[in-house]
Amino acid sequence: MNSNVVLKGSLAFLNLGELLQLLGMSGSSGILKLTSNHTEHSGFIYMMDGNPVDAEFQGTKGQDVLNTFFGWVDAEFEFSEEKILHRRTIQKSRMEIILDGLRMVDDGLTHKIGQASSKKSSVDIKDASGIPIIKGPLVDYLYIVDEDDFSDGQEIVVQSKFGNWLWVILEGTVAVVRQMPGGPVTINKLSEGAFIGGIGSLKEKTNIRNATVCAVGKVQLGVIDFHRIMEEFSKISQDLKQVLFSLDKRLAQVTTVCANVHFKKIKLHKTMEDMQAFSFSEHPEDKILKIVSGRAVIAKQINDHFIELCELAPEDVIGNIPFLGTSHEPHSAMVFVSDPFQVSSIDLIDLKEEYDELSQTFKNMIVHTSTSLSVTTGRLMDMIKKPVTQ
């Protein structure tokens, strides 16, 4: 089938609605194959004279399968031209399929798979039990002062204990476990290139670990030159520091929410009491906002309800940072704010320039935090899809 591939690309660039319109206009017949890092199997759409006639995923066929493909926002496509002799399982017309498919995404009936930002150097896959595995980019050995070996089950850091050592995984996999009153919950797994200990380690000397990390099988870690990172950190602007701390704070809170979802101890809100939705449209796109007074809640919408991801306070930062891609507001989460609420703006261009100047290891560490945030958010949304107590 690959021999006839006439068109390929990324759905993050050309979404499925646009792609189907394009293939429809040219009256093409053939097979559209979709591949995503977030699913084990590929999806297939069979097109006859520009109209989808059948869709297939993991042995299931038909219109419902096709509808779910509109949620594949971060996937690759390949169209191979060939004669299609297929039983028609889809009767709707092309535009009806597209408009209805997108409507279901907007209505939250179709779950989005993968985040829209595909530019990250870190990739995440899932293990057999569906727990995401976060990998990191290539390790810069200049920043490694020592190597540490751990055996299966050994704890590397312990939740609630003090410590600010930083490691990067050279070989093997570790599990990030949040200890809860109901028992431990594995939030995600980390593999080669990912960091153990993050921005929080730089914040204060007495950093408290917010999760336990233990080895899964044999693990080799590189100890990061803490003084070198600290020296770099001390030179960055207060604005960038604030952005990083706020990112770290989000990750800690989202991790707690994720663990609570596991124990079904999560509240879904019909409305966000005493708060109002915050609109970014009044603020320039090249700025992010620092909270001066009041508080903000970042929430995701599930059908008619909201789930609180984290609560932010003065000095925290809201808005989209394109080069970090946290998959939260304004596109993938809503912001609710207290009244009164005041913000000041931080220039994104200045911030990006400063970020670009950082060492690769420092950047990798930041990207790791934002990837963890988006993967953990994705995981908790996946878990919520199963019934939760309201």
């Binding site: 408009l99 907007d106 209505d107």
Partner: protein
């Protein structure tokens, strides 16, 4: 940005009916679909979106000539009003060639009209389009409700509040009875095709 379909030698352009929820966008399109059925190709697609329906069908305008020997096909759409229909709205507005803004004449909907027009302005900006440059026609719908004793804003007032800066053609209408629907559509098509003609000339 119209699409040239070389296979059918057709130029496909997109005319979108925009406006606040329940202002009569779908009623406009339903009337067009019924009254001009000979020019409609394919069936009307109707998607139930909360608070409104999203409609779509293809339309062949007659008597408006050809561009470079190609027939012209117009895709008519309504856009879902609710904020949450982001993906649908983006697809509908992508590559839009002309817009009919359907405003609600009911006095209580005054603010909704303004917000929706502002929203259109922002959504167009996101796609690098300007509300001042895109072919645009305003329609002040539901004029008939005045006869039923409901408080309706005078056309002059709506003109002042919505069209003072834009200065685009505007039409009073009662989409339910079809009054003003045809005028609105004809003017919108005329402006859209004129703009396409200019675009193609420029490209020559």
């Amino acid at each position: 940005m119209a699409v040239i379909n070389l296979k059918n030698r057709q130029i496909e352009c997109k005319l979108v009916y925009y406006g606040p929820g329940r202002s009569g966008k779908t009623t406009n399109l339903e009337y067009i679909h019924k009254a001009f059925s000979k020019r409609v190709t394919g069936k009307m697609i109707s998607i139930d979106t909360e608070g409104d329906r999203t409609l779509f069908f293809d339309f062949l305008p007659l008597g408006l000539g050809k561009i470079k020997g190609c027939d012209i096909k117009v895709q008519l759409y309504t856009v879902p009003g609710q904020v949450k229909y982001k993906a649908t709205r983006q697809l509908v507005l992508k590559g839009v060639d002309g817009i009919v803004f359907v405003a609600d004449s009911l006095a209580v909907r005054r603010e909704k009209n303004m917000l929706s027009l502002k929203d259109l302005h922002e959504n167009l900006l996101k796609m690098g389009l300007s509300i001042r440059k895109i072919p645009l026609v305003l329609q002040y719908n539901k004029r008939d409700l005045e006869k039923k004793g409901l408080p309706v804003m005078p056309v002059e007032k709506m003109e002042l509040e919505l069209n003072r800066q834009l200065k685009v053609p505007s039409f009073p209408a009662s989409a339910l009875s079809g009054e003003g629907v045809g005028n609105t559509l004809t003017q919108a098509l005329k402006l859209t095709l004129q703009s396409l003609q200019n675009e193609f000339k420029w490209a020559q």
